[in-house]
């Protein structure tokens, strides 16, 4: 199995463009969650979300287009032989809203397969690309697939782009499901009551180690292992015993040839819903036993960016490994019983070379990535 390196990243979140404002904001314990100004929220359970600042679309254009443009603008050179994997749950859903309201719009962005072609065209790549939809684990699975292709020698370079928007479509849906937190979400807190939506995206350029060295690219980190599994339990709720997540993590550990003891920190999904967070803590208890290791969720600061969440969390996971610190879980006041000694409202330092990043979603999907520290060729 060839080593898989991450050689470049781009990220756009509610903290702005690039890693620096994101990292600084998280370490400072700030939240980018604020009242939504994009559409009327009077009839919804929550009026809050973490929206990307100054995101403006042209007439009839989806907001996904300027978001993608800003994301790709943050990337360095992308080799022409690069394969493209995008990940989004709803893509240009704002334009479907316009269509149903009888407003003019560019309709190609509502097609699930529009995004990879758009990325390939923008970067002048020959690969037509593919979009992956696996609910809120979409970009986690895209990173896993890109890594697997490189590890198996089926690709040398893969660009993974995950992004999703805050939309009335999605807010109204989670509101109808009574899954939103009235205030900003509070992952792993005993008083948590639901999720807050967020938006943004991340791009990750994956390369084989040989190619990274040959091209003189910096190795920001590595993808050591990956795994996914289905709960086979419920469409919108997780299995309470965390069976699918445990299975996904065990698959990732097996792929990496590592034991659970090698994991130094965990970037959890941590949506702030009662059942997701309880399921994750149960799963971590099963995986790590009584070991207390740093665990966090960024969704109290950035909201839940759906299909983009996994990719954003990989960018942050690599930074955490580089800095040996896990940002605070914003919104946390009193941890859930099983989370004591794991999650914290302040930054947590750690010593180690391996970070676990997990995501779960509708349809019973669970996905896990094991990330390694960067190194020089």
């Amino acid at each position: 199995m060839r080593r898989v390196c991450v050689v470049d990243t781009g990220v756009v979140t509610a903290f702005g463009d690039g890693l620096t404002p994101l990292w600084d904001g998280l370490l400072a314990g700030r939240s980018a969650i604020a009242p939504i100004g994009r559409f009327d929220t009077d009839r919804y359970q929550s009026r809050l979300a973490a929206c990307v600042p100054n995101l403006v679309a042209g007439p009839g254009e989806s907001l996904i287009v300027p978001l993608l443009e800003r994301l790709l603008a943050g990337l360095g050179p992308v080799p022409a032989d690069c394969k493209v994997l995008t990940a989004t749950t709803k893509g240009g859903i704002d334009n479907l809203e316009k269509l149903r309201r009888g407003q003019p719009c560019q309709l190609e962005t509502v097609l699930p397969g529009d995004l990879p072609g758009r990325v390939a065209a923008r970067l002048h790549l020959t690969d037509a690309g593919l979009n992956i939809n696996a609910a809120c684990a979409s970009s986690t699975l895209a990173v896993a697939r890109g890594a697997a292709q490189i590890a198996a020698g089926q690709a040398e370079v893969v660009l993974v782009v995950g992004l999703d928007l805050v939309s009335e479509f999605v807010l109204s849906g989670f509101s109808a499901l009574q899954a939103l937190s009235v205030g900003a979400s509070r992952p792993f807190d005993r008083q948590r009551s639901g999720l807050t939506l967020g938006e943004g995206g991340a791009a990750l350029l994956l390369m084989s180690e040989e190619r990274a060295c040959r091209d003189g690219r910096p190795v920001l980190g590595t993808v050591l292992g990956w795994g996914s599994a289905n709960d086979a339990n419920h469409i919108t709720a997780p299995a309470r015993d965390g069976c699918g997540l445990v299975d996904a993590v065990e698959r990732a550990l097996a792929k990496a040839g590592l034991a659970a003891e090698a994991v130094a920190a965990v970037s959890a999904h941590g949506t702030g819903t009662i059942y997701n967070d309880a399921m994750e803590l149960t799963a971590f208890e099963r995986i790590f036993g009584g070991r207390r290791l740093p665990v966090n969720s960024i969704k109290g600061a950035l909201g839940h960016s759906l299909g983009a969440a996994g990719a954003i969390e990989v960018v942050l996971g690599l930074q955490s490994l580089a800095e040996q610190v896990l940002p605070p879980t914003v919104g946390l006041e009193e941890p859930e019983e099983l989370g004591r000694g794991l999650v914290a409202a302040t930054s947590q330092g750690f010593l180690g070379d391996c970070l676990l990043s997990t995501n779960s979603g509708f349809g019973g999907v669970n996905a896990a990535l094991l990330l390694g520290r960067g190194a020089t060729c």
Partner: protein, 240 residues
Amino acid sequence: MLSAQITGIGWVTAAGCGQGRQRQDFVMAAGALPTLSRADVFDQPDRRFGRMDPFSRLGLAGITFALRDAGLESWQQKRPIGLIAATAYGCLGTDGQYFDTVIPDGGALASPQLFAYTLSNTFLGEAAIRFGLTGSGMVVSAISEPGLTPLGLALENLAWGDEECLVAGIVDLPAPEGVPEVAGGRPGAVFLVLERTRREVAQVYGELSRDGAGRYFLLGAPVANMAELVARCLVASQAI
């Protein structure tokens, strides 16, 4: 060269529903798809099927017929079987229906039932629950007709050792009104069961393989698309 044994085939097309060992008249015909009821798919009452959106019913039906054809429908314990589907339009029709419940009254009447089906991968979750499938699952889309892409992805999963068995295929309703048409696609669902090694009790249609250049072969002979692949599998099964 990546390869796998094809052990099950199921479909819903404009010509009707079928599975490989029961019908030989597969065709990706133009025309309206059958309106699927529970009785078309399951003998026994199924409290979930009637609540699903048309896209999920279509996808679940295709997967059901393929698993049934492979002798894998019944189960006692959950199984690490994976699911991969390719779609051009996904659940866009359901998305439109759902948002029509949002527009009146500022979203106060938004349907939670419909919202649960506004992810193109929801039907994979339905299949996972119905058949106890704990392998990985995803829906993929590109701007062109998917061809054999989902089968290629399944071959990769099998080669990587992620699963021993996957159900992979294509699923699409007609393009919703106002949405641009993706060239080359025909509405319907076609799913194949692919297994890495030959199960003792399983009958095999043939070996599907893909070379390094991305070309597909059935029993060593080139195959161009899903319709041709299924048709040739059915001919091969008659010969057996």
